[in-house]
Amino acid sequence: MRGATQAKWAACAVTVALVATACGGGGGGGGGGGGANGIVSSSWGDPQNPLEPANTNEVQGGKVLDMVFRGLKKYDPKTGAATNMLAEKIDTTDSQNFTVTVKDGWTFSNGEKITAKSFVDAWNYGALLKNNQKNAYFFGYIDGYDKVHPDTGSASATKLAGLKVVDPMTFSVKLTQKFSLWPDTLGYPAFAPLPQSFFTDHAGWLAKPVGNGPYTIEKYTKGSSMSLRKWDKYPGDDKAQNGGIDLKVYTDNNTAYTDLIAGNLDLVDDVPASQLKNVKADLGDRYINTPAGIIQTLAFPFYDKKWDTPGGIKVRQGLSMAINRDQITDQIFQKTRTPASDWTSPVLGVDGGFKEGLCGAPCEYNAADAKKLIQEGGGIPGGQLKISYNADTGSHKEWVDAVCNSINKAMGNNKACVGSPVGTFADFRSQVSQQKLTGAWRAGWQMDYPLIQNFLQPLYYTNASSNDGKWSNKKFDSLVDKANAESDKAKAVSTFQDAEKVLAEQMPVIPLWYQNGSAGYSEKITNVALNQFSVPVYEQIKVK
């Protein structure tokens, strides 16, 4: 009995200690009143990689970079057009050598002036193999990239030869090939400038990143929350309309949604699939469902002889025709996807290269023709189509099963198509990249920047970085090269579309649907919108 009493006291002491530390750790966030000083709380996911501009390749980390950094260009949240931000001007005469002039008067939030060096140092860091930056390939067009980031072995140079500081506010860039749309890629966060503290005190910077955007990071608890506050001295014209953003990590987006409904959270930027049926009733017009620069496709293994046959084109076109896209996007995705009829995304706009219906008949549902085409092409290789997907996240099982159902119905054969789940995303990706798959697999592409080039070249150019199926076509390659060399933007875009027509003829991957971004918000805030990357435009949110 005495022992029990002592245990009780120990438990109480522990309790007091824990509560005390919790109190000490808390505070800071919350409250803040309404209007221009109001704080918006928003759902967040734990970023997968350390928060460095050139190392962040997923939405959760990208969200933060979007608030904390501004680069040479910025994509208009509505139109996607790349407009100058920190760039005074970017000049070129030959689409290969560029001179970048940086605007005067910009500083980082720690007061350090932004100069040409801030960019050159940051890009050199991002490209260097030793630094393990997952977005290093963004600098791949710059001359000297193969020296600082060779495919094998170690780097033979530490700086990109193609980057030179001309004077404090000017630097020159030499590319390895002509690339007329290159300046438009510079809105991507990987190209953000970095302050000197990033290099001198890297660990300290990672614990609390310092940038030059409309917000500064006030408090960052890794894995659970981040408080961003409006930076009053921000020199840009896209100043924050609210006092700050509190990002809260949710283990499950269902919980985030529940919190929103209970009034415990202001903004959820990923409405869970299971709630799509209720979302209209729950939120009314506070539910946003707008197109994002994401397309989903079915890819095929061209490294496998079975698939790389002359008749294969007809088989793939037939399979594409056998998929009832309208029905699947309606019933399974509750209209949060739009049936795809080309290989880009509606967010590009007509001027940017999106062309509805470019795929033509092969992307329209026609069960009778589908069966005929597949049979003409020699039938499905191996007699059965296996669609691989990762079963851990993203509820892919539902739609893969639906696609297979649709194909099976068209073929009049219950075993023509089956889903083939892979346990984890990492395993799925490693099977794809090691060319272990012998059937089709689900593929997805989220654009890096709103350019038609980004939807075509990395995915279908011979040996391109994300050409997982190893498809190769000389005509396509030469059209892409030609488009990149065009100095006139409209001409470049139309040449890219010519290349896209090759995809329509050959059907190397089947376009399925364009993905929308979905978000919901509370009655406390207004002026909420998603940009083309399906990230909320945080700085424009107003608090009532």
């Binding site: 495919d151 919980t255 919190d259």
Partner: protein, 307 residues
């Protein structure tokens, strides 16, 4: 007693190595984790190779295990993919889960044993039947249903609690999640106590105690309950480890950033450093809990002490 404790401690060594090796192999079988780090695009081969060598993934599995264990003994549990030290993750996750477990255990002990004693002494009466039916209901409903239901009712409909727990996770916010986590075990504790009490209620020593004229309260608490607690203590003891490891569902529902969350995240990202590290600590907790249970036997029943 001392030799007994030492023997138990020595037994822990092979268990410790066996479990960590198993977990290590299991995570390894799942494939190449680096491939998942670059999203839907392929990592460029040079960066992937560099990351692999940095995390030691380019070496054979036995060598990875040996290095890992070597590091563990110097207190280095490696680094998670997001650049955080695993020890740092543990430092934030374990206190939260321990708090949650404490809440759950307290519920089990207080409610479970009280209900068990009440029903055990009133066998066959309406109270007994009601509680039995209730425990049956609780046992048959999965935790995630109870959790989501309570979250919806208390959090959204009635606004009594916040549906999600804040990152600091203080005790008062953990009451409902703790109750959810404890619910099934609580039902078992009730039933175990009830049976045990009912069995011993007619034992000779209880009759003797009553015949001696001891107050009923003292008979029940000192004589009857003390002797009936052995199976219950065994259950609660092993439950400590199970609760800590099994909190994945509850933690996910209530957005608690504890061990379950880190484990789930680690498994999704195939981060062997995180998974093996956390499981290693959980194994130790489990072993320690079992040891304490065995020691508690001796406290409850002196005959075991001298055996």
């Amino acid at each position: 007693m001392g030799r007994y404790v030492i023997r138990r401690l020595l037994q822990m060594i092979p268990v410790f190595f066996g479990t960590t090796l198993l977990i290590f192999l299991m995570v390894n079988v799942m494939g190449d984790p680096i491939a998942g780090l670059c999203g839907d695009r392929q990592c460029d081969p040079a960066t992937a190779a560099q990351l692999r060598s940095e995390f030691g993934l380019d070496k054979p599995v036995w060598q990875q295990y040996a290095t890992y264990m070597g590091n563990v003994f110097t207190g280095d549990f490696g680094t998670a993919f997001n650049g955080q030290k695993v020890t740092e993750l543990m430092g934030t996750a374990f206190p939260i889960t321990i708090r949650l477990t404490i809440v759950a255990i307290v519920f089990e002990v207080v409610i479970g044993i009280t209900l068990g004693v009440i029903t055990g002494l009133r066998r066959g009466r309406p109270v007994d039947t009601t509680v039995l039916i209730l425990t049956l209901v609780v046992i048959s409903i999965p935790t995630f249903v109870t959790g989501l239901l309570l979250q919806l009712l208390l959090g959204v409909e009635w606004g009594v609690i916040k549906p999600s727990v804040s990152p600091e996770a203080p005790f008062n916010e953990l009451l409902v999640p703790g109750l959810v986590l404890a619910s099934v075990s609580l039902a078992y504790v009730t039933r175990l106590t009830r049976t045990s009490i009912a069995e011993n209620a007619s034992a000779d020593y209880v009759r003797t105690a009553t015949a001696k004229g001891l107050p009923r309260r003292r008979v029940v608490l000192r004589h009857l309950l003390r002797n009936s607690l052995i199976p219950v203590v065994t259950f609660i003891g092993t439950d400590v480890g199970a609760l800590m490891g099994g909190a994945i569902v509850t933690e996910r529902i209530f957005n608690i950033h504890g061990v379950g969350y880190q484990l789930y995240q680690g498994i999704l990202r195939q981060n062997s450093q995180t998974v093996v590290g956390f499981v290693t600590v959980l194994v130790l907790v489990f072993l320690a809990a079992n040891l304490i249970v065995d020691l508690l036997y001796a406290v409850l029943d002196p005959r075991i002490r001298y055996a």
